[in-house]
Structures are given as C-alpha cells and as structure tokens.
C-alpha cells in the first residue's frame, strides 16, 4: 500500500480509479451506503411495493425520531463516550411537552418545554461524566432507569391523550408531499454536517474522541466538548419528542422503551466508530435509514415482528465486525 516510486501515466489512470474507490471505501459510511443500495435493490426485486413513493416516504417518516436522536448521539460517540439513556429521556420529554401541549396548544411552547427538559437531562449526564468522572455507559445506564422512574412518578402511570391538532401538525403536516418530520430530519442533518466540519466544537469532538491525550496536550477543552455533546443529545431528544407526539397523538408511559438500542445501532451501523474519533453525521443518518429500510422490508416480506430485536442485534454485530474487517483490508490502523 505504501508505494514510494512515482507511478507511470498508465498506472496513474488505473490507480486514480482505484484511488477514488479507495477513498470512497475509506469514508466511514461507505459500507453502510453500499449495503443500503444492495438491500434496496433486493427488496425492490422481491416486493413491488417497496420502491413506491409513499412507501419510501413512510420509511423516512418512521425513522425521523430515530434519526434525529442518532445525529446527536453520533457526536457523543465521536467523543469516545456513549449515551444509552435516550429511550427514557424521549419518554420524559414527550410527557412534559404533552402536558404543556394540552394546556396551551401550538408548537413553540411544547417544543421549548421538551427541549428544556431534554437539555436538563443531558446536562445531568454531562456533569456526571465530566465532573463526576463516572464512565458514560454507567451514567446513562443509571439514567435510563432513573428517568423511567421519574416518568411514572410524574404521570402516575396514566397516558397523556387529547393532544390538540395545533401540536400534532408537526407529525402529520406536509410540504409538497414531504412530511414535516422528514424535513426536520434533513435540516438537522445539514446543520450537524456544517457544525461537524466548520465549527470549533465540531472539530474538537473528533480530536477528543480520536486521541484524548493529544487533545489534552493541545489544550483543547475536553470536558466542555463532552458536556456539550451530552446536552446536544438532550436538545435533539426534545425536538424528537415533538415529532413523536405528532405522530403518535398520545404519550404512553413506556414511550421510547428500547429506542436507546436502536439509536446506538443506527450510529455504529452507519459507520461511526464506537471507540470514537471517526465517523460523520451522514453515517448516523445512513444508519437510521438503513434500520428503517430493514424493518420495513421485514414487514413487506412477512417476517413476524417478534424477530425485529434479533435482526437489530445481528446488525450491530455485523456492522462492528465489518468495520474491523474493512479497516484491516484498507490498512487503516486508526
């Protein structure tokens, strides 16, 4: 792989193609994109319903909540941390936002409430990880259960129903046939791509996750970078809770159960390295869409819903194994 001599012109033409291929395969989200294409082809051959506009749109709408949260958790994982509290967090944000929606209606106040509650939860996670120096897996595992307890305390176990149409419009409304959830997801994706590439914090995230010692010697604000990543998760979960509410029309006490696993799955399946420092917002989005396509394909193929969890687990393992093998193949030691 490490050729030193100058290539001849003929070699250059051949190798430029190979280089393009190599450069593509070096992108973190490359395997997921290839897999997504192959899968889409397979599903569209085996079921003529798959490639229809309404079905594709419904896949994207169905992954809006997952994708939104995955975009933020992606940043936490890039920092070399993890957040598995998002399922319960989504439930709590939705409960708070739902309560406000019932009394005021509209979009702004429920959204602000959801975002505020989410940011608070994220800040607690971030403080425990940075100041408390507790590993993030333990912090967020504890929070996963603690927040579920808070939900039951606040609601007393009852559902929140009767959310006004002025709030649920976020889940049902469309622009030119494209649902609001899809638009929100893509706007947030673009924002995260820009933040990742062009903001100081976005670059710091890669540095902190890639090599924490080096980041410390370079004087980067390691704790602040990680703290902000956890808060960002809270904010995005708050936004996702509004989408969720708009789609479901009510909030149950078990809202978001098991979602934390799908979110982490989406991020690592998309190609962001679980050990941090390597990945992209596109990876998180690709992973989320891939999960949506797979779950949708399973339904179209008539696979019982009881198998979903097993498929998800197998996908996580397949994704991390592919990542290792791909890195060995292209000689990327990072």
């Amino acid at each position: 792989m490490s050729e030193v001599r100058a290539p001849t012109p003929a070699e250059e033409r051949g190798s430029s193609l190979r280089d393009t291929f190599r450069r593509f395969m070096l992108r973190p989200e490359a395997p997921a994109l290839v897999f997504l294409a192959v899968l889409a082809l397979a599903f569209s051959l085996s079921s003529d319903k798959f490639l229809s506009g309404p079905n594709l749109e419904s896949i994207l709408v169905s992954v809006a909540v997952l994708g939104t949260i995955a975009l933020a958790v992606n940043q936490v994982i890039l920092c070399g941390e993890i957040d598995i509290s998002t399922g319960s967090m989504l439930g709590l944000c939705a409960v708070a936002a739902g309560a406000v929606a019932i009394s005021t209606g509209g979009l702004i106040l429920p959204l602000l409430t959801g975002v505020a509650v989410g940011a608070l939860c994220g800040a607690i996670n971030g403080l425990l990880v940075t100041l408390g120096r507790i590993p993030s897996i333990i912090v967020t595992l504890g929070m996963l259960y603690a927040l579920r307890g808070v939900i039951l305390l606040v609601t007393g176990g009852t559902w929140i129903t009767g959310i006004p149409d002025s709030t649920t419009v976020v889940g049902t409304g469309t622009v030119l046939g494209v649902g609001y959830p899809v638009i929100i997801l893509f706007v947030l994706f673009l924002v995260m791509e820009l933040v990742s590439r062009h903001s100081t914090w976005g670059r710091n995230v890669f540095a902190v996750g890639g090599n924490r010692r080096a980041a410390r010697f370079a004087g980067l604000p390691i704790d602040r970078t990680r703290f902000l990543a956890f808060v960002l998760v809270g904010v995005f979960v708050g936004i996702a809770s509004i989408i969720y509410m708009g789609r479901a029309g009510s909030v149950q006490t078990n809202t978001g159960t098991g979602l934390e696993l799908q979110v982490v799955a989406a991020v690592v399946i998309g190609g962001t390295s679980i050990s941090g420092g390597r990945g992209s917002a596109l990876a998180a989005l690709t992973g989320a869409v891939l999960i949506g396509v797979i779950l949708n394909g399973l339904i179209l193929l008539g696979v019982p819903g009881t198998w979903q969890q097993a498929v998800l687990g197998a996908l996580i393992l397949l994704a991390v194994a592919t990542d290792v093998l791909r890195r060995r193949l292209v000689g990327d030691k990072a």
């Binding site: 507790i134 897996i137 504890g142 259960y145 979903q308 969890q309 097993a310 991390v320």
Partner: protein, 319 residues
C-alpha cells in the same frame, strides 16, 4: 478536617466493612419500614431472588476486573430459559433439556468472547449487540409463547427447601461463591484476571494468555448465567422470551457497589456478595413496604450512580 480524612482513609482500607455497615443499617431501616422484614422466613425467602443475580454477578465481577463488561447476561438468561423450556416441550427429556440449556448459556458466552477477542472489539459494543440478539432470538424462536407444563420435580431447583427452611438454591450459590473466590484469589488464573485489568498490554507482553483468559471468562459467565436461568425457570415455573429483562442492571449494580472498578484492575468476590445482599435487601424491603416495582427500578438506577461515584471518589482520594 484531618480527622475526617483519616476516617475516610480507614474506610477505604476496609471497603467490605463499610458495605457490611451499609447492609446492617439498611436492614434496620427496612425492619422499621415493615415488621415482616426481619423474620427468618422472609430473610431466607429473599435468597430465592438474589441467588440468580448473585450467580451472574460472580462472573460479571471477573469480567469487570479485566476492564470488560457483559450487558447480555439478562438476555442470555432468557435464551437459556427458552432453550430448556422449548426443547423439553419438543420432546427432549428434562435432564437433557437442562444440559442443553447450560450448553446454550456457555455457547452464548463463548460467542461474546470470540467476538471480543478475535476482532479486538470493546466488550461494551459486542454485548450491546448480543443483548439485543439473544433476547430477540429468545423472543423470535418462541413467537412470544410460553412453556409451563414442567414435571413436578423440576421445581426442585428453584422452589425446594432443604431442612424445611433453607431454600435449595442458596447451597448452589454458596458453592459457586467458594469456587469463584478460590479461582480469583488462589490461582494463577485469578492473578491473570487482575493483571489484564491493570494493564492489558503489559500482561500480554509478560506472557499472560490474554485471549484465552477472556474466552474462559465470558464462557464461564455464560455457564453461571445458564445455572441462574435454570433456577429462575424452575422458580417461576415458566419459560418465556422476556425472562430476565433488565437483570443486567441488578448484576452490574451489585458488582460496582461491591467495589469493583469499572475501569478494571480491582474488585473482590466478598465485595460483590455484599453488593448482591444490599440490593436484595433493598428490593425485598421496598416490596414489603409497598413501594411499586417501577420505583424500585428508579432507586436501583440512582443507587448505581451513587455507588460508582463514591467508588471513584474514594479511589481518587487515595491517589
């Protein structure tokens, strides 16, 4: 201030004593909350519940000492429970079905171990994957059905009393504790476990067979999970795909509460056993006091956070 520091330092030196103190205080508090708590019958019955968590916590202690973690133990329990129940329902004699279940448990643990060692992956992400995979398999294979027409003697593992008062599984647990304690503190393998946790690379270059030790640990934990699953299935007399849901939280909490550092390198079997007892006391006491089960989960989540925080606090104070 200096007096307080001295006290803290002394506390650090005998973590087991502190945990014992916590356990006693907790028991007094619980007996005040409910008059039923401090009866011999109740205390012995509590052991019915903590033996399952305790068996899994023994394996988890060694894994956490090496700096690893196994999030899949609860799901593996469901898988073994289903393997026993459904192979029996399919016509396999029950003793063979139990053996088959234990084999499934070991195989699942071995699968974790192979994935972690061959691909050099962090145990966290592997066992997060198998957490979903094992539970999904248990759920999918059974199509969310349950088996509960076991022969009466199957109840022996989870419901029997020895000498009319002592739950049978308590003996299994005591034997398991003794064996794992011996392995960890009296054998070369045990030293390897600590060595890997303190510095895996250094251990590797010192000739410790890191991969083989890890494979043995994850498979051994699979065996302990299998034993816990048989006891669990016998106790509730039902094999279902959603057995053991969330048990990994109890197990990890118990180990961390017992003083094992989540960063690896330290931890003891004595500490873990006390951690298991504290969590069992808390759960049982809260049930008797009429606290709903959802609140117990909340308490457990907070307890886990406090335990890790105190662990790292004491550790840093010592440095």
């Amino acid at each position: 201030m200096s007096a307080a520091t001295a006290v803290l330092r002394r506390l650090k030196f005998s973590r087991e004593v502190v945990l014992l103190g916590v356990l006693i205080v907790l028991m007094i508090a619980m007996s005040l909350l409910s008059p039923l708590f401090l009866t011999v019958g109740n205390l012995l019955n509590t052991s019915r519940f903590f033996v399952e968590v305790g068996l899994m916590a023994l394996g988890m202690t060694l894994i956490i000492i090496t700096g690893g973690i196994d999030l899949s133990v609860g799901s593996n329990l469901a898988l073994v429970s289903v393997a026993v129940g459904f192979s029996y329902a399919a016509g396999l004699p029950l003793p063979l079905a139990i053996v088959f279940g234990l084999v499934v448990g070991v195989a699942a643990g071995l699968f974790n171990g192979l994935f972690i060692t061959l691909l050099d992956l962090h145990p966290l992400v592997v066992t997060l994957g198998t957490f979903a995979l094992f539970q999904g398999l248990a759920y999918g294979l059974t199509e969310a059905q349950a088996v509960s027409d076991f022969p009466p003697w199957f109840a022996y593992f989870g419901q029997a009393y020895l000498l009319n008062v002592v739950p049978g599984q308590l003996f299994i647990f005591i034997v398991a504790v003794a064996v794992v304690w011996l392995i960890l503190s009296r054998t070369r393998f045990g030293r390897y476990v600590y060595a890997i946790g303190n510095n895996e690379e250094a251990a590797h270059f010192s000739g410790v067979p890191v991969r083989r030790v890890k494979l043995a640990l994850y498979s051994g934990t699979g065996l302990l999970v299998g034993m816990a699953a048989v006891i669990y299935t016998s106790r509730v007399y039902t094999a279902r795909g959603d057995s053991g849901l969330g048990l990994e939280l109890d197990v990890i909490s118990a180990v961390v509460l017992g003083g094992a550092s989540i960063y690896g390198g330290s931890g003891t079997i004595g500490g873990t056993v006390l951690g298991v007892l504290i969590i069992a006391t808390l759960r049982n006491g809260l049930v008797l006091a009429g606290v709903p089960s959802t609140w117990q989960v909340f308490v457990l989540g907070v307890l886990l956070l406090v335990a890790v925080f105190l662990n790292e606090f004491f550790r840093r104070r010592e440095e």
